[in-house]
């Protein structure tokens, strides 16, 4: 897992790209907890989201979970191949399993996210 990732408490990861856009995905912890994914709904490109707002949903045999925007901004790209290949989320959650790319309104919002150590500490304290 790359060290430059930041995490939301709601288990989304964020990676700043060279072009200033943020790539967002779901942590391996969250994917493992859901198990057996069956459906995913992605947002439309161009949609504006606010930090903490639901932008998509994942259904597993266990639960429906919301995906929350870690920062405010515009969805500029979605991983359209993902809903048809949900196993990618488990196999490569920090690579090919990326979910959306967001052009952030205020990149400083990244400062409010967790670094890897803090996120590991958060999920380590949660019972499986």
């Amino acid at each position: 897992m790359a060290a430059d990732l930041k995490f939301a408490k709601t288990h989304e990861w964020v990676r700043p790209e060279a072009d200033g856009v943020l790539t967002v995905g779901v942590s391996s912890y969250a994917v493992e907890a859901l198990t057996d994914l069956v459906f995913m709904q992605l947002p439309a490109v161009g949609r504006k989201v606010k930090a903490g707002e639901s932008f998509g949903e994942i259904e597993s045999v266990k639960a429906v979970s919301d995906l929350y925007a870690p920062v405010s901004g515009e969805i500029v790209e979605v991983n359209a191949a993902l809903p048809g290949n949900l196993e990618t989320l488990g196999k490569d959650p920090y690579g090919d399993g990326w979910v959306v790319r967001i052009k952030a309104d205020n990149p400083a919002e990244m400062d409010g996210l967790l670094d890897r150590a803090a996120y590991d500490s958060l999920v380590g304290s949660q019972p499986h």
């Binding site: 408490k9 709601t10 907890a33 859901l34 198990t35 057996d36 069956v38 459906f39 709904q41 903490g52 949903e57 259904e59 597993s60 045999v61 266990k62 639960a63 429906v64 979970s65 919301d66 929350y68 949660q126 019972p127 499986h128």
Partner: protein
């Protein structure tokens, strides 16, 4: 976190019940404790899983004309009206809120014990047994997932699912609602009619709904080591809770026919 609060709610239509379940989730997060709601239906109603296709429902002759409501949770369709329907909500920081299976197992395990008090033997569908997650199975009670409650019967050598639940995991809280198929629903037939506890136990009497739910609530509270507190005001009639206004989303075709 040291109280389990329970509502025995008034019967309501599908959209009102779904809005009340969402209110329950928000309230559990606000209170920081487990909340439980038992409720009825003013008429036989099908609740669809959050991602089921509406066209599938419309093609099933056995449920033609039966009102539909789409749940915020996943899973298969349930025919409500003669079942024991519940919703429970717990903050994610609660020991039962951290992962999906823990909450299912806690509530379903307590139901196994409660039914056993009435001489009814049910057990959780085991993790190593073959699951039937096939999305082509429209009804919840045709599917099997780990922890679903099953019973032997009604025919010799068969096993029937009698209780299933589904979750919506929000940012800080988990909403779980589910159904114990206590009695058969005569408003539907064919593929929509599944063996109920009453069908399986034959001549044996089936526990009365309120007594069963009260005993189940007590078992759940015992498992947590907390006290039960009963709320008298029905959620669905709480004019100041905003249930009626928020039920409009569940009446809207943009929600019901979203897939």
């Amino acid at each position: 976190m040291n109280t389990l609060t329970i509502w025995w709610d008034a019967a309501a239509d599908g959209p009102t019940n779904m809005a009340a379940d969402e209110w329950l989730a928000a309230e559990a997060e606000r209170r920081g404790s487990l909340l439980l709601r038992f409720y009825g239906w003013t008429e036989t109603t099908i609740s669809l899983g959050g991602f089921q296709k509406i066209d599938e429902a419309r093609q099933i002759e056995a449920i033609r004309g039966v009102p539909l409501v789409r749940r915020p949770s996943g899973g298969g369709a349930i025919v409500h009206g003669s079942d024991l329907t519940y919703a429970a909500a717990v903050p994610k920081r609660h020991p039962w809120g951290a992962s999906p299976q823990v909450f299912y197992d806690a509530l379903h395990g307590a139901m196994v014990e409660t039914l056993a008090e009435h001489g009814i033997r049910a057990w959780p569908h085991p993790a190593d047994a073959r699951s039937r997650h096939d999305e082509s199975l429209f009804f919840c009670f045709d599917r099997r997932a780990t922890g679903d409650l099953v019973m032997a019967g009604p025919a010799s050598g068969t096993v029937s699912k009698i209780m299933g639940s589904a979750q919506r995991r929000l940012a800080g809280v988990v909403l779980q609602h589910g159904s114990l198929l206590l009695r058969g629903n005569t408003a539907v037939a064919g593929s929509a009619r599944h063996p109920a506890v009453s069908d399986i136990v034959g001549g044996q009497s089936v526990p009365e709904e309120t007594a069963l739910s009260r005993a189940w609530g007590a078992r759940i509270a015992h498992g947590l080591g907390v006290a039960v507190r009963e709320e008298e005001t029905p959620v669905v009639r709480g004019g100041d809770l905003g249930i009626e206004a928020s039920s409009s989303r569940f009446r809207d075709d943009r929600w019901t026919a979203r897939r």
